[in-house]
Symmetry: C2
């Protein structure tokens, strides 16, 4: 029988072309005008699962469909691996900041540039191909496989949890494998030990009924932009900590070994600063940059809007001011509780001259993984064999809220091994995925199953 | 000879229609796409001055032209009155908040609704018609008259001061009369004793080179929106005072009589609150609403923009955050000095992790009038006769920066008598001018000249 790893190498041009086809579908779940395209991406995934040899179908939801694939050839006594990914992508705007169009994939400097190349179509594709090539070359897999690909990850996965709960039995598994994150560096593969959760809210401050002349009324009528600025300024103290009462109550302090492990990683602080292009890095006092990103919660302003924002001077006293504010959470913070704490904080501080409304837009639980067990070991070993270097344990500042839901509903551990690289511009213009990781990613996943076969012996 | 006041009453329908024609010209000086229309408004004014019997022409500048009208029939020994107004208007956006289109004047509830109805085309028109009707019915005026109508008042009058300086001799006058303000109330006419000055700046805070994922980078990379909020929050103290060092150093404390006069005015605080539609009024502690508006300086946020501001949640860590901030100034504050104080304040407080730039967009000196002299007395008497009530002395929160320039260059006092009413929505949607004041305004100005004739006797 053919060697699956050799098959990957031999088919690389075709694989690239096939991935490009997938990336060309503008499956922007947030925009209703892309509903047809988003569904087209789901169909694309379903058809590729079928071609690979899985039983596959679209499961309708009140939003975009879930693609469900199943291969039960290992028999009822063999373990089952559930693979989760998403076929939807972030909006590509602002388009003018892309070097090449977001939905016309292009290779430059050994990188595949396209919206979704890293997050997550490119990485979902690795799984599809690993399964296909293994089934084609070996005719079997050492475990049963369930694939769940959703189309609403970028808009909050509203229909995935109900789907999981409705299909609890059918989705029963021994591990959940997800590739939607990045490696520590090109030389150092990594496995995740944590994800931050999210509480995303919109604050609206209202003053007068309509915009007024800032000369005629300024000084006597409340300015909601000023009130908003004061409220937002109250969210941090001078040491970079979140200054909302009770915010840190549920934060688990990490053990010394984990913090030691993080500090031991070869992290180039100055290189990171240069990459982001800020004059200086900043954050919570007493923590390193990686700790600030991985194991500490944050409060960020994501958007601000009030009054006149175009060119030049307009002397307007705004009637309203809006801020989008999000918190990244760490175990065991709860987004619902954090939203409550924020509301209470604002209520206490807001002057009675204005009306302050807080709307919750999005939430997700933080996650902490257990770096152990046969599936974790198989992933570790597959990464080490493929990249020639032991994977390190890393955290991830972003959120994949569904990870906690998967573990809770299916009672199985999640293994997060990602193949994107730092600076991949997920959610930003010029998103990219390293071209060599197309081969190495598929090879890693093939070896993951090979390792499981060995464990099962 | 016909009675000019009767002529106004007889021609009222025609006057309304003619004013509508003027208001239909979208002379938005701030927008280059309206350059032709803005010029058309200048031509309209020039032609109406000619029809009235004045020598009139457009004087070109590097921006929109100044309309210059002259009537020298009173002879070299008679006094000269200079009338100033502007034919340009504020942008009408947001258009969707207008009940009727801004450039299609409409009468509802005895109000003329249109952009420019109050500020200032409607009030400039009163002067054109008073002159025309007097010259038509009486054949003469008791004083020489110079009319200066500019087209850049709403964008800072950049070319008016050079025009005044170049034409100092030709514009020599004994009083400058301006109608670009409002009466104290429908029952109570008023004359202005003060205008606030203006310092308008834009603050730009820059962090990372481009927008970043707020999960992947949040907590370790400076957030310019957070920095901006903290800087803006530092501009006021808890008593509503501007907290910039040195800001009040040049503020002239008003005499007890003036403050007493302001407090004695029949001002309906609750009615004012209801009109603006705020939950409560607010401002500097220790001052009444009218004092806050007329004799105290302010700092207002006019605009805020950063990151993602559309619907829903986007987890972006913004690269930049912008605020438009303006100060209303009182004698003897200097806008240049205030801009300097703000820069110093921000420099002191801004963290080194971000870059803060401050651009000055607009400035204007405050003004304090001397409520005395024959021209002031003529205006007072004309208002009292027309409205049946003695005018009160009021301040004005807004700025007409050119007033100080006029007084300084031409060495003559300015008389500010306005005919708009409180809540006129200058600079806002649904700007309006009271229909009855079309007649009463022209009648007042006719009586102003009649009073001057009597004084001259």
């Amino acid at each position: 029988m053919a060697d699956p790893i050799r098959a990957v190498q031999a088919e690389l041009d075709d694989l690239t072309e096939e991935l490009f086809e997938f990336l060309r579908i503008p499956s922007v779940s947030a925009r209703s005008e892309y509903a047809v395209e988003t569904r087209a991406a789901a169909i694309w995934v379903r058809d590729h699962l079928k071609t690979a040899g899985l039983k596959a179908s679209l499961v309708e939801t009140d939003g975009h469909p879930v693609v469900l694939g199943e291969w039960r050839g290992a028999g009822p006594d063999a373990p089952t691996v559930l693979i989760y990914g998403h076929y939807d992508v972030q909006p590509a705007e602002p388009l003018e900041l892309w070097t090449s169009p977001p939905f016309e994939p292009e290779i430059r400097d050994q990188r595949i540039y396209a919206r979704g190349a890293a997050d997550d179509k490119g990485q979902l594709y690795l799984h599809l191909k690993a399964l296909e090539i293994l089934l084609r070359t070996k005719g079997t897999l050492p475990v049963n496989v369930v694939v769940v690909a959703e189309g609403e990850e970028e808009i909050g996965s509203a229909h995935l949890l109900p789907f999981l709960e409705r299909n609890r039995e059918r989705l029963a598994c021994d591990a959940i494998v997800i590739s939607d994150s990045q490696m520590f560096s090109p030389e150092t593969p990594s496995l995740l030990f944590s994800l931050r959760g999210l509480s995303y809210l919109e604050i609206l401050v209202r003053g007068a009924r309509s915009d007024l002349h800032s000369g005629a009324y300024g000084g006597a009528v409340p300015n909601p932009a000023t009130v908003l600025a004061r409220l937002l300024a109250s969210l941090h103290d001078d040491r970079g900590r979140v200054a909302i009462e009770g915010f840190y109550d549920q934060v688990v302090e990490w053990d010394a070994a984990t913090r030691e492990g993080i500090r031991a990683l070869p992290f180039d602080e100055e290189g990171y600063r240069e990459e982001v292009g800020a004059a200086e890095l900043s954050g919570e006092e007493g923590y390193s940059t990686l700790e600030r990103l991985w194991i500490r919660p944050t409060c960020e302003i994501n958007g601000l809007l009030s009054g006149y924002t175009e060119e030049g001077a307009k002397t307007v006293l705004p009637a309203r001011a809006m801020a989008k504010v999000s918190f990244r959470l760490v175990p065991d913070q709860d987004p619902e509780e954090v939203a409550h704490l924020l509301r209470r904080h604002l209520q206490r501080l807001a002057p009675t001259s204005v009306v302050v409304d807080v709307h919750e837009l999005h939430r997700g639980l933080p996650w902490r993984g257990a770096p152990e067990g046969p599936f974790f070991e198989a992933a570790r070993s597959a990464l080490a064999r493929t990249f020639g270097s032991e994977p390190v344990l890393t955290g991830e500042g972003g959120s994949i809220p569904i990870v906690s839901d998967f573990e809770r509903v299916l009672k199985a551990p999640a293994i997060l091994l990602g193949f994107a690289l730092p600076g991949a511009n997920m959610h930003a213009p010029d998103e990219w995925f390293p071209l060599p990781h197309l081969e190495l990613g598929i090879a890693t996943l093939i070896r993951f199953y090979e390792e499981l076969a060995r464990t099962g012996d």
